[in-house]
């Protein structure tokens, strides 16, 4: 029988955070053998990791499947760019502003969507996000700049910056108190934010509040008869989750101060769902793993084309090589989304618990290779 850990030790929290921080900050080193040690990609890992962590706080803990989380990502991006345009190119206010605006937006959406559960919640979030997306393209053009996307211009007021410095000739770049946010500094900034985000998630997982959220997922009606008003619990989870998405969105704007509505499209919402499921919904590190893997393979696979494939399979006999390349080519390059969709199906069908579930099964196999029944108590947190 599987068991759940009842009491995580406080000391273990420190250890986890130390290991995690070390792992994240040394990513440029240990990702090098995988060919992923360049700041743009590493930064993507961190940003989408934050997005997935936040999504997991809602879906993983409460079981409420939001299909509109990309809306918060988009709102966060817009807000951050506006912060660059109106106030300062310093990233700190932009991140705070983006997170806040997305959280406020989440209050609004959550208030409406959380009146329903199950598939109705999914459809409501989907409809509301799609509505925001359509509005970003039409009515809200003064704020979003429609199809062109919101960009920095020479004429932006940038009130705070211009109190200290004169308008330069070119467009200014994002910075943290003067340190330019491109290349590795940009990655390290995102990495630090990721570590903070992970810490918050860890605390929530191990708090009474997190326990209550998990109980809602397990049996929501029972929570009512236990004396809890579930709706505010869900709303707060939703707001935190939306805030994380907004944070990720504003970090995207830091790398590239440009925000477009396509970030809000529902396929983007689907992507974060996939990341979370792939890694393991409801587990602490699973969503991070999922986000990293998807962004990694997206980066690698979408760069493939027929000639690179021919190179890779050159060791095969000629006829076989062409067949293999023919079979593989629809899944790479432009067809990367096909791989993504297929992966999605495979995971949901065969491994609904995601990679973390797979690892757990593996470790059980390894520990008791002979026993058919794996009912050994298990103590580590998933």
């Amino acid at each position: 029988m599987p068991t759940t850990p009842s009491f995580p030790k406080l000391q273990s929290e420190l250890a986890i955070m130390a290991v995690f921080a070390a792992a994240v900050l040394t990513m440029p080193l240990w990702m090098a053998p995988f060919g992923a040690a360049y700041p743009d990609l590493l930064q993507k890992f961190a940003i989408y990791g934050i997005f997935a962590i936040g999504f997991n706080l809602l879906f993983g803990l409460t079981g409420y499947l939001s299909f509109g989380h990309a809306a918060f990502l988009g709102v966060g991006s817009y807000a951050a760019v506006w912060s660059f345009k109106l106030f300062t190119m310093n990233v700190l206010p932009a991140v705070v502003f983006g997170t806040l605006v997305a959280s406020l937006f989440a209050v609004l959406i959550g208030f409406v969507a959380l009146r329903r559960a199950g598939i109705y919640f999914s459809i409501l979030t989907l409809a509301l996000a799609q509505m925001s997306y359509n509005m970003a393209y039409s009515v809200l053009t003064p704020i979003t700049n429609g199809e062109t996307g919101l960009q920095l211009t020479q004429n932006d007021p940038r009130m705070i910056d211009h109190m200290f410095v004169d308008r330069g000739a070119g467009l200014p770049s994002t910075n943290l108190f003067g340190l330019e946010m491109s290349g590795y500094p940009g990655f390290y900034f995102c990495a630090v934010v990721l570590i903070i985000a992970f810490f918050i998630s860890l605390r929530i997982f191990r708090s009474p509040f997190g326990l209550k959220l998990r109980a809602i997922k397990s049996n929501q009606t029972r929570m009512g008869y236990t004396g809890f008003n579930t709706r505010p619990h869900l709303l707060f989870a939703f707001i935190i989750s939306g805030g994380f998405a907004g944070l990720a969105g504003s970090l995207l704007a830091i790398t590239d101060p440009l925000a477009g509505a396509e970030r809000m499209q529902w396929t983007a919402s689907g992507e974060v769902v996939l990341m979370t499921i792939l890694g393991g919904a409801g587990t602490l590190v699973g969503p991070l793993l999922g986000a990293g893997l998807i962004k990694y393979f997206e980066n690698i696979f979408s760069a493939f084309n027929d000639s690179t494939l021919h190179e890779i399979f050159a060791f095969l006999p000629d006829g076989l090589e062409s067949v293999v390349v023919f079979l593989v080519s629809p899944f790479v390059g432009e067809g990367w989304h096909l791989t993504l969709g297929a992966l999605f199906m495979v995971i949901v069908i065969f491994l609904p618990g995601g990679i973390m579930e797979g690892l757990r099964r593996l470790s059980r196999l390894v520990r008791r290779p002979s026993a058919g029944r794996a009912d050994q108590p298990q103590t580590q947190e998933g």
């Binding site: 409406v112 009146r115 559960a117 459809i123 039409s138 199906m345 609904p352």
Partner: protein
């Protein structure tokens, strides 16, 4: 008055498409208890059946262009035209309606395979997992279509005799302004007859009645010793055909592209929710209603009062319905209300 009639007409053909897709969606939910996020992809597959048939019929070879005399010019001429002349040309002209003959077996087969191979294994799993796996399938399907047909919309022509517009205004003495493309009129009647066919099947055949009984109370029907599993497969195939036909016939109205399924899926979910989850008449009524409302909200007069309303009207209605009357217009009391 004329503008009013015109907007209703404009909404009707779109409403017909919504109704057909939503009908299958709600039928599958009501009988199988499965939320199918790949249903929009079935609509898209239907549309690409028409594209495939058109491509097949217009397979061409290069022939010398006789009309150009001062140098050697070549043009593509379809085999059908070469073999059968005018008759061949007529067949090509009617490729969209002819695609129906192709789409019915293809969609039926696809529906059967999809139900047997995938959906069946998800009856007992959570709605969230159903949503996820069918969402994955939808992505796979649309990416396959994208790989096969490219990313750009592929316009399809309505048959030449019905490519013009009907002066409906003159028919009913409403004024010359009310003109309406013949094809849209045909689409409206087509969708109505498919809807009628589905209802007739469900209400007038014993087979259909068992299916409806299954919608009301699956366990009892199972206890009666009726093989409900097999009927579920048929129902799913039927829903796939309805969505596919909606797609085939819609191609002259909207040039099909690989992501049209996703666009229509979100809208038809809204339609199902507004109509009432599991209610067939509700889905049809809501389909037409939302189609018409959408067309009204895109009138310049309306847009000048509330800018952008045409983009969001359907979602606003869905949100309002879910909040005020979650069971929808015609949903059964107590179904998913709390």
């Amino acid at each position: 008055m004329d503008a009013f009639v015109l907007q209703i007409l404009n909404g009707l053909d779109k409403g017909g498409a919504y109704a057909l897709i939503a009908l299958g969606l709600t039928l599958v939910f009501g009988t199988l208890g499965v939320v199918n996020f790949a249903h929009g992809a079935l609509f898209m597959l239907g549309a690409f059946c028409a594209v495939a048939v058109e491509k097949l019929l217009t397979l061409s070879k290069q022939v010398k262009d006789e009309s150009i005399t001062f140098f050697d010019a070549y043009k593509e001429q379809p085999y059908l035209e070469i073999w059968w002349g005018d008759f061949g040309r007529a067949i090509i002209d009617y490729s969209v309606p002819l695609s129906i003959l192709f789409a019915i077996p293809v969609m039926l087969l696809f529906g059967f395979v999809m139900e047997r191979g995938l959906i069946r294994h998800f009856y007992k799993r959570s709605h969230a997992e159903q949503i996820l796996v069918t969402f994955g399938l939808a992505i796979v399907l649309q990416e396959i279509i994208k790989a096969a047909f490219g990313a750009n919309p592929i316009p399809q022509a309505a048959p030449e005799p019905v490519s013009g517009s009907a002066n409906i205004g003159a028919w009913f003495g409403l004024g010359e302004a009310v003109v309406y493309p013949y094809w849209r009129l045909i689409y409206l009647f087509f969708s109505l007859s498919v809807i009628g066919g589905v209802f007739a099947f469900l209400n007038m055949t014993t087979y259909g009645m068992v299916v409806r009984a299954g919608m009301a109370d699956r366990e009892t029907v199972g206890l009666l010793g009726i093989n409900i599993q097999k009927r579920f497969t048929v129902v799913f195939g039927l829903a796939a055909v309805a969505a596919g036909l909606a797609g085939v016939m819609y191609t002259p109205i909207l040039p099909p592209d690989y992501h049209m399924g996703m666009d229509f899926l979100v809208l038809s979910f809204v339609v199902v929710v507004v109509g009432g989850m599991g209610s067939l008449p509700g889905a049809v009524a809501a389909g037409f209603l939302l189609g018409i409302l959408q067309s009204f909200s895109s009138m310049t007069e309306v847009k000048s009062i509330i800018p952008g309303i045409d983009q969001i009207i359907i979602y606003l209605i869905a949100v309002a319905v879910l909040l005020v009357r979650p069971r929808g217009l015609m949903g059964r009391k107590g179904v998913m209300e709390s």
